[in-house]
């Protein structure tokens, strides 16, 4: 039943992405030249990717905090999956943003507060992924990674509010006061992008946490089998 629900989620997400791409390229008008002209259409994937990074980071942070409070393999698996997904979505955002920035600002990168805090956050999640990949799955490594996971999540609100607190070049179009998208199709594309990317984040988080949990259980079984002399290594 759970697998069936997952397959439905997968199909709905795929259909939504096809519709989103068609809507962005065929129905949504480009923005003014000062905002990048047609390059502004990067927004409809760039901002949702950032949002998906927040979601993955929050999943990592909550699971990490719970792991520090009471360790379990499931919590560790979710923390690891959250960090991995945050890196993937963070890279999507960091790659697409500069290409839009080149047209809108004239430069690929500037040390704007939001860009800098975002880069810092992605690097924290990269550190977790690298740590878990190369240092084994001992309790100390897991706890250290969990502490980093909490740190990465604490940085997320700073990214979000950095635009308003410290200014910079990054636009503040998407706000709680309704936003600055001046065409209904623009709003529809962005909302669709957020929904599609949220579903994608959920799918990837579920998949990666399952793989991480299976990997941990397998290591325990291999150790038990080796202790009983069933395995050579």
């Amino acid at each position: 039943m759970r697998d069936r629900a997952f397959e439905v989620l997968l199909a709905v997400t795929a259909a939504l992405f096809f519709y989103l791409i068609a809507h962005v390229f065929l129905a949504t008008p480009p923005a003014q030249l000062a905002a990048g002209g047609i390059a502004q259409k990067i927004l409809y994937f760039h901002a949702p990717a950032g949002y998906a990074m927040y979601l993955s980071g929050v999943a990592c942070g909550i699971a990490s905090a719970l792991y520090l409070f009471r360790p379990s393999d499931r919590r560790d698996a979710w923390a690891r999956a959250g960090a991995e997904c945050a890196v993937a979505f963070g890279l999507m955002m960091l790659v697409s943003g500069p290409l839009w920035g080149k047209k809108a600002w004239g430069v690929y990168w500037t040390w704007d507060p939001r860009l800098t805090t975002t880069l810092l956050s992605v690097l924290v999640y990269v550190a977790i992924v690298v740590l878990r990949a190369f240092s084994g799955g001992g309790d100390a490594e897991r706890r250290f990674a969990a502490a980093l996971g909490v740190l990465g999540t604490v940085n997320l609100p700073i990214i979000h509010y950095s635009v308003r607190l410290w200014g910079g070049n990054h636009p503040t179009v998407i706000t709680g006061q309704g936003g600055g998208l001046k065409h209904p199709a623009m709003v529809q594309s962005l909302v669709l992008g957020f929904v599609a990317m949220t579903l994608l984040a959920a799918i990837l988080l579920i998949l990666r946490s399952r793989v991480a949990l299976a990997s941990t259980r397998l290591v325990r079984l291999e150790e038990a089998a080796a202790a009983r002399g069933a395995l050579d290594t």
Binding site: K41, L99, L204
Partner: protein, 73 residues
């Protein structure tokens, strides 16, 4: 001959001088396509890495089953 203009040697460029504030040379369309391609490439790489990790796990499970003598036919 349309589209070609012949210039005398004295009219040809003999140096390249950087221009500030000149006409835009970066195509917005090219940047848009590059952004979308790179984003999907990152996503597909992530899915591919997940699939490879799953395959490695499957192989290790099969080895464990064989070692324990409980491999299913």
């Amino acid at each position: 001959m349309q589209g070609t203009e012949t210039t005398t040697p004295s009219e040809r460029s003999t140096e390249f001088v950087p221009v500030e504030g000149g006409p835009e040379t970066t195509s917005a369309e090219a940047l848009l396509v590059a952004a979308y391609l790179l984003m999907w490439a990152i996503l597909l790489t992530f899915v591919l890495l997940s699939w490879l990790r799953q395959k490695r796990l499957d192989r290790r499970v099969a080895e464990l089953e064989r070692a324990l003598g409980t491999a299913r036919p």
